[in-house]
């Protein structure tokens, strides 16, 4: 029989990890202070799947990841893009601190292949983050990916259509993304070890990520 937690801090860990002896899982700061404040550990969960349920394409759902991805690339890791709906545009990525040669663009013909490629990429320690746009998946597929991410400590971002918001999912983090005036509206649907239900707004990242010529010279 384990002794009960003695301090409030241990109680918090028990709620977050299911074990108060274990250190909290590392997190990858998202680069948005408002969002980090709402995520357990202060960032995207490492070794887990984050689902991004976006109402439409092009509302800033990719810009939300850019600061985190650029910190991963600076640490020498690679980023895998699996079946993106549009082409990742190399000059834009370079402007946001992502060198194009660090990107791996993987295309697949079928859903099965794309899930397989996502899992393989998640299991590779040289890859920092996997961005995947699977066509239609069920929670069994997500669980498999979640296990793969846990094994290697990679962050997996799954982009899912708005219908997915109604279903349950084993992903550690689920965010609903909606367009807002001059920014993106985020609703936390599920957050393992954190609190769900919060709504917040983040600014578009491209407005701040592009250095002005004066700033670049400084």
């Amino acid at each position: 029989m384990k002794p009960p937690p003695a301090t409030l801090e241990q109680l918090t860990r028990l709620c977050q990890n299911g074990d108060w002896n274990r250190e909290p899982k590392p997190a990858l700061p998202s680069g948005f202070a408002e969002l980090d404040a709402h995520l357990p550990g202060g960032g995207w969960p490492c070794g887990a799947i984050a689902e991004l349920i976006s109402d439409a394409l092009g509302i800033g759902e990719l810009g939300l990841l850019m600061p985190a991805l650029s910190s991963l690339v600076r640490a020498g890791r690679y980023i895998a893009w699996i079946t993106p709906p549009y082409l990742p545009y190399a000059p834009a990525l370079a402007q946001r601190g992502l060198p194009p040669e660090r990107m791996l663009l993987i295309r697949a013909q079928t859903l099965q292949q794309s899930l397989w490629a996502t899992e393989q990429a998640l299991r590779c320690p040289a890859i920092g983050a996997v961005l995947s746009w699977p066509a239609y998946i069920v929670d069994r597929n997500v669980r498999r990916l979640q296990l793969a991410a846990e094994a290697a400590g990679t962050v997996g971002f799954l982009y899912r259509p708005p219908e997915a918001a109604r279903e349950s999912s084993p992903a550690a983090l689920r965010l609903r993304l909606q367009a807002a005036f001059d920014g993106i509206l985020i609703e936390i649907k599920k957050s393992r070890g954190g609190r769900a239900g919060a709504r917040l707004q983040c600014p578009h990242s491209n407005a701040l990520a592009v250095p002005t010529p004066a700033a670049a010279r400084a």
């Binding site: 092009g58 993106p84 709906p85 000059p91 791996l104 490629a117 990429a121 250095p211 010529p213 670049a216």
Partner: protein
């Protein structure tokens, strides 16, 4: 000198007379990883000799070496009998013994041979018959006779054989030579219709290939696997690696991915493995802390797996190109290449911001209702017949998406180029 003799009764049973030679060739190439002096004889059962005296020290003693060879044979799923003796003939003879098949010195060998029956000797049948009718039963009795008398009665070659058997006279053999290219074939007794059924013979082929690569101390970047059909041209599978490799397990994984989505045009009756080019092995030592080199190796393994299953051109990386037209300012690049030539990102600080998503093809759209910013004029390309004169805007769509659109100045139409996301 100490000779290891392998007796392989199963090989003769499995293969037909013609392919026994091919199988022994493959096995000799495989055995070359432990000894530079390999020879074989296509008797029934076939025998394979390895000289171990020179490699004993490298592999940490006879016991360890013998264990490695036997483990290798078990991996190949070949039944075998091993014997170790200071002479090739002695080792071959001892493979017939029930036990105590390893002797290390010449006096020991003589003692071991003496109680063994006379008919195990590789002498002509009439010689054996004559000896038996003279009342001799075991080898010891024959060895006790004066050599001059044996030579007078049965010829000098009998005497030479006995001296070679005891290791008293040298027994020169032409050492088997490694071929400069590798080709291994195996035929099946039946036709295989399922790709999964191919994995068993494939495993043996790849393990033998690994032995050859280790023996030559080299690695491959690509090899070809031919699936042979009856009366039809063979289906070729070329397996490419992004870094030199020589591990059978890695090869098998790649081949399995390729076989996974292969539809056989006809049943397979044979397999052929071919490798024509070899490179130096790039061995990365295992490191306690995941070093960059190790990470790179893992990434190469991942890329190979993805390419094998999805197709070689489905895995790409990106590169920048110096051009003002957005659709030409980038290109695909093979993964894992460091940026070469001119560094294009230097100029990027002075370029206007670009969106992260680019449309694969230009789509004509209706004139946008709400423009958020613009115009940015891009006029370029008069020299290569893809002249562009465009005004770029950021437009807001009804669903909240921010579009990167342009008005073509030549025809006045609006086009969608990308998404600000």
């Amino acid at each position: 000198m100490l000779w290891l003799c392998l007796r392989l009764p199963q090989l003769a049973r499995e293969a037909q007379a013609i392919s026994t030679a091919a199988a022994m060739e493959r096995l000799a190439a495989w055995a070359y990883q432990w000894s530079s002096q390999v020879s074989y004889r296509l008797s029934d059962p076939p025998l394979l000799w390895l000289e171990l005296g020179a490699s004993e020290h490298l592999f940490g003693g006879y016991a360890a070496l013998l264990e490695q060879v036997q483990a290798g044979l078990t991996q190949l799923k070949l039944s075998h009998v091993c014997a170790l003796a200071p002479s090739p003939h002695g080792a071959a003879l001892l493979t017939q013994a029930e036990r105590q098949r390893c002797v290390y010195t010449r006096p020991q060998l003589r003692l071991r041979l003496e109680p063994l029956p006379l008919e195990w000797l590789e002498l002509p049948i009439e010689v054996i018959g004559a000896l038996q009718s003279a009342g001799l039963r075991n080898i010891g009795q024959l060895l006790a006779l004066p050599a001059a008398a044996i030579a007078r009665r049965f010829g000098p070659q009998t005497c030479r054989y006995l001296r070679q058997l005891l290791g008293q006279q040298s027994d020169p053999r032409t050492a088997w030579q490694l071929p400069s290219t590798y080709q291994a074939r195996c035929e099946f007794g039946c036709e295989l219709r399922e790709t999964t059924a191919l994995l068993f013979p494939l495993q043996r082929l790849l393990l033998e290939f690994q032995g050859y690569l280790r023996g030559r101390d080299c690695a491959v970047l690509r090899f070809t696997l031919k699936l042979e059909h009856y009366r039809l041209p063979a289906s070729d599978l070329t397996i490419g690696l992004s870094a030199p490799g020589r591990e059978a397990a890695q090869f098998l994984q790649l081949v399995r991915e390729r076989l996974h989505n292969l539809v056989l045009p006809a049943p397979v009756c044979g397999l052929c493995l071919e490798a024509l080019e070899f490179t130096a092995p790039g061995i990365v030592q295992a490191d306690l802390f995941g070093s960059p080199a190790q990470q790179l190796q893992q990434l190469q393994l991942l890329l190979d797996r993805l390419r094998a299953r999805l197709g070689a051109d489905q895995v790409q990386s990106l590169a920048l190109k110096p051009d003002y037209r957005p659709e030409r300012a980038w290109d695909y690049a093979p993964p894992l290449q460091t940026r070469s030539g001119r560094d294009c990102t230097v100029a990027d600080d002075y370029q206007p911001a670009r969106p992260c998503f680019l449309a694969t093809q230009l789509q004509r759209v209706a004139p946008p209702a709400r423009l958020l910013s613009g115009p940015e004029r891009i006029e370029s390309g008069w020299w290569d017949r893809a002249d562009a004169a465009r005004d770029y805007y950021i437009a807001l769509a009804e669903d909240g998406a921010r579009l990167w659109v342009f008005r073509n100045l030549s025809d006045g139409g609006w086009y969608l180029q990308g998404l600000w996301t």
